[in-house]
């Protein structure tokens, strides 16, 4: 067995594991055939790494690097990247500008380490000048990013990888399976006997150690947004790591965690992210969306 992945057989399913996109990844497969589980986990591993390599902003050899270092020059992008840009643009519009893939550079001002390190308003303002999807010229297949701006697909990439992987595995097997990359989950068809996969929702107070609840998951996509350990505390105000790209400041009174079930992982991910961006209106927003959700206030 390749040493970057492991496969374990449970009583009525197999589980393949590896690390990608800086998080633990799991493939649960409704089979006891270890060879098949290994084959499918390999597919997942390859696809996760492919997407990570292609869209990570931490690399200097991919399209994101090229766009972020284009100094205002147009960059020709491939079809898959173009689809991501189209999708990011639609998310920007659907969220009324709250979801913005150019807002990543706000992290230069905000470091969410649980401290009271709040940036000055001047610092935030100077960064805001370089934020705003509206300033990006996206004319398929060319993207022109004004100098000083950056795009970051971190808010879409992992969920996209889950759906894309799940699509590939679906082509390779008839068994039911579940793809879980760091809590972003897809399960395109139900299990044998119509049993649910039971998903534990991480307790934001004791992240990684306790479950705040359990979700029975039959089919579709599931994703959770939350601020777990990433926040700042000053004068008793808790600043979540969800930043509003229009103000440059964290969204106030957002829930600690929002879990959404939708048709696909990326849809669930966007809805949970949009809900967080709504701050105190998160729950009323979710109610209007006609989806299953769990909210930890």
């Amino acid at each position: 067995m390749p040493n970057h992945i492991s496969v374990e057989t449970k009583n009525n399913y197999s589980i393949g594991r590896f690390t990608a996109m800086a998080c633990p990844c799991e493939i649960l497969i409704d089979t006891l055939d270890k060879a098949e589980a290994l084959k499918l986990t390999e597919i997942a591993y390859k696809e996760a790494r492919r997407i990570e390599n292609k869209f990570s902003r931490y690399r200097d050899d991919n399209i994101i690097y090229k766009i972020n270092h284009s100094h205002g020059e147009p960059v020709l992008v491939d079809d898959e990247t173009a689809l991501m840009m189209d999708f990011a643009e639609q998310c920007y519009e659907l969220s009324n500008g709250k979801f913005d893939i150019t807002s990543g550079i706000l992290r230069k001002a905000w470091t969410f380490d649980g401290s009271d390190n709040i940036p000055s308003s001047i610092e935030v303002k100077s960064i805001l000048e370089h934020i705003g999807w509206k300033k990006v010229k996206w004319s398929r297949p060319n993207i022109t990013l004004p100098a000083g701006m950056e795009i970051d697909l971190g808010g879409i990439g992992k969920e996209y990888a889950v759906d894309s992987t799940s699509k590939l595995i679906k082509q390779a097997t008839t068994s039911s399976f579940l793809v879980n990359f760091g809590g972003d989950i897809a399960c395109p068809h139900p299990r044998i006997n119509n049993q649910p996969w039971v998903i534990g929702v991480d307790d934001p107070e004791n992240t990684g150690e306790a479950s705040a609840g359990k979700v029975s998951f039959y089919q579709g996509g599931l994703a959770t947004s939350g601020d777990a350990r990433r926040f700042l505390l000053k004068d008793g105000v808790r600043y979540s790591h969800i930043l509003n790209p229009e103000t440059g400041y964290p969204v106030k009174n957002a829930p600690r965690s929002v879990t959404v079930i939708a048709d696909t992982c990326i849809e669930a991910g966007m809805l949970s992210t949009f809900a967080m961006l709504e701050g105190e209106n998160a729950i009323s927003f979710l109610k209007e969306q006609d989806v299953k959700y769990w909210c930890i206030p």
Binding site: L83, E93, P141, E267
Partner: protein, 418 residues
Amino acid sequence: MNNIKSKLSIATCTLLSGTQVQAADTADNSWDLNSSLLYYSEADDRVSVTKAIAFLTGDLSSEDSISVNLVLDTMSGATPTGAVKSSSSSVTSFTGASGASSSIAGGASVDRVNFSDTRMGVALTWAHELKRTHKISYGGSLSVEKDYQSYGASVNYSIESDNRLNTYTMGFAGTFDQIYRKTDGTPEPLSNVEDNNILSDGERYTYDFILGMSKVFNKKTVGQLNYTMSYSDGYHTDPYKVISQVRLVEDTNSGVFTWTELERYFESRPDSRFRHSIFTSMAHQYGGTGETVQTAYRLYTDDWGITSHTFDLTHRTPLSESSYLEPHFRYSIQSAADFFRPSIIDDGTTPVILPEYASADNRLDETTGITIGLEYGMKLGGGHLKARGEYINWQHAKAEYDETTAMVMQVSYQKLFD
């Protein structure tokens, strides 16, 4: 707040299926309006046209879009008829050896005819995306003026390559035109103007076939190549144009010989025309701020004997983030139609045999044209404002009016509403 799940589902579906579907958000209510006002004026009080254009395009659904093009022209002026200039004639009345006579009403200019007209045009196009890279569009058009009516229909099919770098287009169009004079039908070709032999309205059918290809060579260079074949059948003559029969006549007082008009006939053109044209253009962006140079060349040839070459060059220089200046230069040369002649010569010794086809229209003459223009564009109120001015000069080799000079001024505004 509203429910965005359905719109998000469509967007997600697009992303994951790799199928390009427009976002429902834009499909619902995104309209692009392009309006413009153009003024064209020829020197010497010849033709002047004021053109108002409105072009509206929008999405009906994720696969369908529609565009509406409205044009309103008001035209007026005095256009050369093809007759020799009255000033070159030292007599106002002449009786020829043949016995025919022609008289010219004192003071009236006959080499030019005053006109004024209004044209209204409407064109509708419906484009439908069959699958990700295949698109079909259907168009219909109608144009009406006092002496001309035109009805057209077209279908275009375009295919994009999987990487969307190449686009191939094929199209057919059919047009039916009705041509007549404001007051009556059409004059009998090569009949004497005096006789006033009027026939019924002229009708013409035109069929066009277009093959096109555009290619993105790299992120800064795009090219285009089009071939158009067009066949038209029916009435091609201009019902207002005439041609003079002239003879060198000595003025008995001064002893000076001048070309003098003896007869005047309505012009006559063949009843079919077969045209081919090849158009190629290339745009290239360079430099740090987006300077763009665009070159184009068009080769045109038809079975009337006209061949033309047109070279076009524009250069766009951004002035700031939101404005640019674009000089434009065009040069064209055209050979004359086989049946073009400035007049029908009567040598006074052998009887004149009228040719089958004859026209003195300076647009069919051997012509060299130069256009110099400048366009300024800027972003304004969420849209784009453009203003351009052009100077055009045509030098005609043999026509009675051997030069046409015109100015074009255009202001347009384009805005996307959503």
